[in-house]
Amino acid sequence: MAEERALAGVSEVQKKIRSAFDVFDHEQNQTVDVREIGTIIRSLGRFPTEAELHDVIAEIEEEEPAGFIRFEKFLPTMSRILMENKLRPVPEDLLLQAFEVLDQQKKGHLDPEELSRYLTQEGDPFSQEEMEEMLSAALDPEKNLIFYRDFVSMMTADEPW
């Protein structure tokens, strides 16, 4: 019984992976552009760092990197990631904490300049474009500040389409 359930679980996982993959399979020939792999993995609820992402890609790339990834290589790797809960999601409360850590004076908000500095210089730095995009969503235009609590709520909201 447990085995049946486990098998059913496996096939559910595979179907999820298939669906996400299909969205980017433009010619419906079981391949996607390698540049979309990050998006696909993340849309499946995983939170890889850039380094982890590169590792995954290295594992599933063709022998001669050809710019695309085949589903038959993607499926086993991604299945394993999901089944073993790798590239684990970051709990939402930690995200809020992270902002609070940066907000040393506990003002409840951050300056765009200081946040930009952190995010474009530390960790896995954002590109200029990524930073601008984030600010456009996070910045309160009138006060020119980031009220991160609201921003966190928005980012962690449960997929309202």
């Binding site: 995983r46 952190y118 960790g123 389409w161």
Partner: protein, 750 residues
């Protein structure tokens, strides 16, 4: 979306987590800050990926609906052609049908003069729009652009004059423009504009007006879909007249009067120019066929609208007579002076196009049982027996015709065609024509793919999908470095592929919906390295956040998708019922996905979309499909009547019907005669597999002429289809004087 909402693993208590981060060091702000940054970055990228997934789904929806519309268009037109071939008409009927298909023939210049005669058109004093004097100057054009910015229209007299001058210029241009970047000029290349004047003006604003210092190449698809197609054409033509060596126009697949019937350009012109619109359209047919097919820069960079195929041959393209291909959707005209085997033929001045010639030949071979005709021909029947044929044959023929329409016109196929005339040379001529035609269709309709090879482009219904190996081959064969093309909307306005040897450029921003995509253009200097500049029209889009613009586009796409669902409700219901033999009203989501794709054939990821489409009707992986249809009807106020099946038919056939009307209405008067209606209805009803007598058709025609003016306008035409589908039996009963139960009252147009 289901995938992203998987529950995170069990939370560890906050403190422990924090300690984990701190354990390696004293709480050094720098290290903590770094970890915090990492966390935020990971989260943010995840968030963006989720949005990107949604955006991509939305995109797929729009694109597949768009392409399936294009496919429909080709199918529809092929269908008419097919009917013509298989029609055994009385002579009056024959006139009508071939009249529909009559091509604008290659007249002598003298015969075209009346069309270009603008002189008889007076410009009234109260006209406040721009005035043109010839020869044009930059100042005049600047005034013209200003006028268009203020929503003014150019008077028909000046339009005709401008078009006349344009035609004179285009005729002397080669099929392939050769351009050079000497004098260190940078050339600007724009992609599809599709009637979006705002984008053209934005490009001019950012990049400068066309001039000797600022040469431009415009890569086709100037018209259709947007609302200012004619204004864009006039501006581009005007600039070309003033700077003929510095402004180059390539033909796109939408520079085609048949495509224009469906996609809005015909409607736009007739709406803006009520008196002279027909003349203008007729002239534009000609002008489109004279547009060059490609531009080459420094003999190294090839620019054309759609793409290439494995058989692309620039030498051949340079030699052909491009103006013979008035529409890329129709096989080429056969040249004149054919054999005398057709006694009835009048071939003077190329009066009869190939369709009517071939049609008549086939008819003759049926009655004369010519042994030279192929077996296939003998299976054909005249239209009188049409309704007794199975749908299967029709589908076969349609497929055949679509293949003939250039998907993979191989030589063998050409020989398959019945050549019942005894002219030994006709086969050869046909072959060259077909080859040239294929070159043109491939250039205007093809799309790149990531896999090697070259396959027919079934999604669009014309041209190919070509792979990186084909790019290598064709570019190397012609000693070229780069292919620049358009034809496909790209989210960023541009996209490289095939090892950066192919560059797609698309200049109509917000094409599917506000916020859907950016537009872009290319600057190319003597080093021939393309430099892309992006933009997005409309202030409001720039102020939308990523999330808002995704959301907006999404809602639009889902609405479009729901319409598709409605349009196919009966077929969908049948398909669902196949999985529900016991009529429980529910099926599994898996079956729902399979059935939906089988019916709609949009190639969409239904599993991913189902939550947005199906929402509350589903529980535990099953769906009650009737409930679902009801819910969908509630979501969209226009679709309250969906369950009656009336609206379903209207939705499904709407753009087809409008196109059909415009095809019949060859003189673009906005009206069709009873006789035209009767003939067309006869053809169409057999296609829709309805048996209906001549008398019933005549009565129908009379009854739908609501304003009793003896002719039928487009609203009345559309109404006819709604009436009949509603239940033509009831209508027939009432027309024959019987008592009928209350049919739902159609809302009569005023």
């Amino acid at each position: 979306m289901g995938c992203g909402s998987s529950k995170p693993p069990e939370h560890k208590p906050k403190q422990l987590q924090l300690k984990k981060y701190d354990r390696a060091s004293v709480s050094c702000p720098a290290a903590t800050a770094m970890r915090a940054a990492l966390l935020i970055q990971r989260w943010y990228r995840q968030y963006v990926a989720r949005l990107e997934m949604r955006r991509r789904c939305t995109w797929n929806i729009f694109q597949s609906i768009e392409y399936s519309g294009e496919q429909d268009q080709i199918k529809l037109y092929n269908f008419f052609g097919f009917l013509m071939d298989h029609f055994t008409p009385a002579s009056s009927e024959r006139n009508l049908i071939s009249h529909i298909f009559r091509e604008s023939e290659v007249f002598q210049d003298a015969e075209w003069e009346p069309y270009f005669c603008y002189k008889s058109i007076d410009v009234p004093d109260m006209y406040t729009g721009p005035h043109l004097t010839f020869p044009l100057t930059v100042n005049i054009i600047t005034e013209l652009v200003e006028a268009f910015k203020h929503k003014q229209h150019l008077h028909a007299r000046y339009v005709l004059q401008l078009l006349g001058e344009t035609w004179r210029l285009l005729r002397i241009l080669p099929n392939i423009n050769e351009v050079s970047t000497f004098h260190s000029k940078e050339i600007t290349i724009c992609g599809d504009l599709h009637g979006q004047l705002e984008d053209l003006l934005l490009v001019f604003y950012k990049n400068g007006l066309p001039s000797v210092e600022t040469p431009y190449v415009f890569n086709g698809d100037f018209v259709d879909r947007g609302k200012d197609s004619i204004e864009i054409l006039l501006i581009l033509f005007a600039f070309q007249l003033v700077y003929p060596n510095d402004v180059h126009l390539n033909r796109g697949n939408h520079e085609d009067h048949i495509v224009n019937l469906r996609y809005g350009f015909t409607k736009e012109v007739l709406g803006k120019y009520r008196v002279h619109g027909k003349k203008i359209l007729k002239l534009l047919q000609k002008i489109f066929s004279w547009l060059p097919l490609a531009t080459v820069i420094d003999q190294k960079v090839l620019i054309l609208h759609g793409g290439i195929s494995d058989t692309t041959d620039l030498k051949l393209i340079a030699k052909l007579e491009r103006n013979r291909y008035v529409s890329a959707l129709r096989p080429p005209k056969r040249p004149q002076a054919l054999s005398s085997s057709d006694g009835n033929a009048r071939f003077s001045g190329g009066d009869w196009d190939q369709y009517s010639i071939v049609g008549r030949r086939r008819v003759r071979s049926l009655t004369h049982s010519n042994p030279a005709s192929s077996r296939r021909e003998l299976q054909r029947r005249s239209l009188q027996n049409y309704s007794t044929r199975t749908g299967h044959n029709v589908e076969e023929e349609l497929r055949e015709r679509r293949r003939w329409a250039g998907l993979s016109a191989s030589c063998e196929r050409i020989h398959d065609l019945p050549s019942s005339d005894s002219d030994p040379d006709s086969g050869e001529v046909l072959e060259t024509d077909a080859e040239e035609w294929k070159q043109i269709v491939d250039m205007l309709w093809s799309d790149p793919m990531s896999q090697d090879g070259c396959i027919p482009n079934e999604v669009r219904g014309g041209g190919c999908y070509w792979g990186p190996d084909i790019t290598e081959d064709v570019l190397n064969r012609h000693n070229l470095r780069l292919l620049i093309r358009s034809h496909e909307c790209k989210q960023d306005g541009y996209e490289f592929c095939h090892n950066r040897r192919v560059l797609t450029i698309f200049s109509a921003s917000n094409y599917y919906e506000v916020g859907s995509n950016r537009g872009a253009y290319i600057r190319l200097g003597p080093d021939l390295n393309p430099h892309v500049v992006q933009y997005q029209a409309s202030r409001s889009t720039r102020e939308l956040t990523l999330r808002q613009s995704v959301g907006r586009t999404e809602r639009s796409a889902l609405r479009a998708l729901r319409e598709q669902v409605f349009a196919h409700k009966s077929d969908l219901t049948s398909a669902y019922e196949e999985f529900d033999p016991e009529h429980t009203g529910v099926i599994s989501m898996k079956h729902w996905a399979v059935a939906t794709e089988t019916v709609l054939q949009l190639g969409l990821p239904w599993r991913v979309l189902r939550e947005q489409l199906v929402g509350d009707s589903t529980q535990d992986g099953i769906i009650n499909y009737n409930d679902w249809f009801r819910e969908l009807a509630l979501m969209d106020p226009n679709t309250e009547l969906a369950h009656t099946g009336l609206l379903e038919t209207m939705y499904r056939h709407h753009s087809n019907l409008e196109t059909i009307f415009r095809i019949i209405d060859t003189d673009h008067s906005g009206l069709i005669s009873f006789e035209e209606f009767r003939q067309t209805w006869k053809l169409l009803s057999s296609h829709l597999k309805m048996e209906i007598s001549d008398k019933a058709i005549s009565d129908l025609a009379l009854s739908i002429d609501f304003n009793k003016d003896g002719s039928i306008d487009i609203n009345e035409f559309m109404e006819a289809f709604r009436l009949v589908d509603c239940s033509h039996a009831q209508i027939l009963i009432s027309m024959n004087g019987g008592t009928s139960p209350d049919p739902p009252q159609p809302s009569s147009p005023s």
